[in-house]
């Protein structure tokens, strides 16, 4: 499935019922060099728009929000040792966590790539 995007600059990609979540390339560029990522524990229940992770760059620490309701099934442990992955490949290898969705229809509330591009240009 094609990626979907939130206004808080998270991306979601659904595959076999599991959603992979990360921050967008625009977000990593705005944050600057990322030095630490705090990921949610497996089994944690996430609520749409609630806190899910924390990303710390040389400029600031920012919350990463859950774009959808669901339960965390996997966190990207590579980010513990190499947070720079988020800068290098935010929308592929630099994913944050995977979640099982409670309500896949929430995906419809997110933007597609073209809409997100327009949204970012308007910022």
């Amino acid at each position: 499935m094609a990626k979907k995007f939130s206004q808080e600059h998270e991306w979601v990609e659904l595959e076999d019922g599991i959603a992979t979540v990360g921050i967008t390339d625009y977000a990593q560029q705005s944050l600057g060099d990322i030095v630490y990522v705090e990921l949610p524990e497996v089994g944690k229940k996430l609520v749409k728009d609630g806190d899910a992770a924390v990303v710390e760059s040389v400029k600031a620490a920012s919350d990463v929000y859950a774009p959808l309701d669901g339960v965390v099934v996997e966190a990207n442990e590579d980010l513990d040792v190499n947070p720079a992955l988020v800068n290098e490949s935010a929308e592929t290898d630099g994913w944050f966590f995977r979640m099982e969705l409670s309500d896949a229809s929430q995906l419809d509330e997110l933007m597609d790539e073209a809409a997100y591009k327009d949204f970012v240009e308007g910022l």
Partner: protein, 498 residues
Amino acid sequence: MSFTTHTGNRGLVLEEKLIFEQGEAGRCGVDLPKPAGIKSRLGGLDRDSDVGLPGLSEPQVVRHFTRLSQKNFGIDSGFFPLGSCTMKHNPRLNEKVARFSGLADLHPMQPESTVQGALELIDQCAHWLLVLTGMPAIAMSPASGAQGELCGMMAIRAALDARGENRRRVLVPESAHGTNPATAAACGFTVDMIPATEEGRVDLAAFEAKLGDDVAGIMLTNPNTCGLFERDVRKIADLVHAAGGYFYCDGANFNAIVGRVRPADLGIDAMHINLHKTFSTPHGGGGPGSGPVVFSDALAPFAPIPYVVKTTDGFKLVETADEKDGTKPFGRLKGFHGQMGMFIRALAYMKSHGADGLRQVSGDAVLNANYLLARLKDKLSVAFPGYCMHEALFDDRFLKDTGVSTLDLAKAIIDEGFHPMTMYFPLVVHGALLIEPTETETKESIDQFCDAVLSLVAKAQAGDAEFFKNAPYLTPRRRLDETAAARKPVLRWMPETV
């Protein structure tokens, strides 16, 4: 002319090695006779390896720390417009008074009867703070602004517990100091962010919509971290009170309104006062800071112990909760009575200025910031329109398409001989530059800074991005790798042979 010296020193600016890289094993500043026949009582646990300290003579140690101190840049060295931090001059009169032996040589465990003057001084300092804020009660003991916040929020928590209410949501504007949400979370509250309006103030409608019977209160900084006065503050106080919550005010920016606005008249229930910001005690002044907290009648009974009271037998430090009827202190925040050295300096500052002088302090702080704003606003981009309070806030639109970032500009400002402004805070403004000149700077020093910034901005806009990417050029070390320092910190020196 540019060349490298044999030693690495630049004239009399010396290249200093780490202290562990200096000296020679066995060298020592003192020569004591070897003790004769000490019987170890450590039961075989005596250290059998080397401690690993460098062997240094006394002059080597003195020179090392003197040289390091010369590399330091502080408010006594030059212009230091670090926004939100209020780096103002610390009058030497305060220092002189704090060193009087009758005050400096006191011990906190002396009998009360021998420290009546010191207790009276705490009481007088408290009195001045109560008059300036218009509030009925104060806790003098908190050891910093952040602990002051904790003190205020713990009092709110205690008041809610006494009412038997389980309110757990605290409203915090998104421009707040990071300590505000941290404090609320540390006290067991959840934090709910209030968005800002286009003009950088609390969005009143959004705030009102968030009120409810689970709201413990609001934490609001006024003037806020955008350097703006929250015009709706009275309305905000009334609304939060009507909803059953309390109003915590972050008093970090009290220096902009002291002598002109009494926080009590704004409807606040608790506010900390950073003595090092408004009342000119040194930042990190030889120990912990000091953040007294003023309370409204509603929160006063919950203020922490200890506190000073005046009785017919003289001054007394109330140390336990049951000494005074009707109060329910939430506990104790700190050993002893608070940061005495800071009370002395703050009181010396208040008494030497007088009420009219303190009113001029806030007036001059706001005037200086607005002068700086007026000089820079046409060439930089102001974050919000209109006048500012004690600090001027810019965003990075003026650097758009130059290839120069806020950070690069700040590094170039170092080469010009100034401490840079605060960068990238508040977070609500893109690439923020927050500049606070304070009231103790002269027009000449503000002009010199503005001229330097304007010349750098012209250079950036002329397309010389490369110059900025490599700044600073003239410092003992060039651009440091902040990313590597955070990702792979070296926290301990190790000998190369290991």
